[in-house]
Symmetry: C2
Subunit: 209 residues, 2 copies
Amino acid sequence: MKYNSKELKELPARFRGAMMNCISGFKSASLIATKSKSGVSNLAIFNSVHHIGANPPIMGFILRPLTVERHTFENIIETGYYTINHIHSDIIKKAHQTAAKYDKDQSEFSEIGLDEDYIDDFPAPFVKSAKIKIGIKYLNHYEIKENGTVQVLGSAEEIHFPEEIQADDGWLDLAKADTVAINGLDSYYKAEKLARYTYAVPEKMPEKI
Amino acid sequence: MKYNSKELKELPARFRGAMMNCISGFKSASLIATKSKSGVSNLAIFNSVHHIGANPPIMGFILRPLTVERHTFENIIETGYYTINHIHSDIIKKAHQTAAKYDKDQSEFSEIGLDEDYIDDFPAPFVKSAKIKIGIKYLNHYEIKENGTVQVLGSAEEIHFPEEIQADDGWLDLAKADTVAINGLDSYYKAEKLARYTYAVPEKMPEKI
């Protein structure tokens, strides 16, 4: 199957949207949790959390254009903090439902039935049932002028995960935490490890670790 | 297991790097192919290709700081074109090996044993054995000032995939094309579909499509 530039432009918007959201490959599956200044918690699914750097530890995510209310972003700007919580297979249906347009005075946590977790004095709620959770401090955001999307950056202030998923060299086996991957806007995949390879050098092919 | 901000800072750089590259969740697995003005092809693995928009169709990827030679980026700026090719399970070892530091006059295609494919008059090579391939025209890049990484944006000019992976509404089942997901810098996962859900609305829980 081939679509060229002209054919892509002429496709119905929904069809093109469904296809183009898949064509970039598998994505991370995260719930981003925040709390407004007035105390209402918010929970929203994102498939765009990505790694920016390890030193300092910086993570990014992409927001759609700010032409409609974006409760997650408003809360981040108001309070300066948010959490990223990995989605595992037991909560994919509830996680998907956080994409529904609830009002700003409704908390997706209580509407959908996921519990908030406040750890020590971190200012944003975590998702209690999540196995991998990251507390983030907002750093900056960049508007992507080509289409008005926004890249939001934050620094990882604390991370939580089950000890048994970590290897001696720091690496984490996400499959052991049952973290899922997202394809497109609406489909969820379980991951099974095929191989981990040694650092690549020109002289020889990598070996399995 | 918990690491706070102070503990993260004090970890050995490699340990922190291995961990932080996993903590953002599963990532896309792509080979980006380019050709220099002088005619040398280049192939490099990226785990940071992401969706920016469907209308117009824009995809991004993240480059590490431009403090060392970045052949992929140099070729993109020189020629204006590149291709994104999904990695499937049969080529993960070869794909991983493209991360080795080959000289600029060496083509990773021939060094590693992956065939180039020139489709119609598209100016950059595709990976012949890849099942999902996207021809991209460079649009812009943004420097992320927090750590010097660069987000490169391009528009999808043509896309190729096996017809049987597409649903009637445009959605693509990446597992049917055997597209893998990456965890961290060096591990490759097979994906198995758990569920695809209907569009989320507040009144009721989503159903499987």
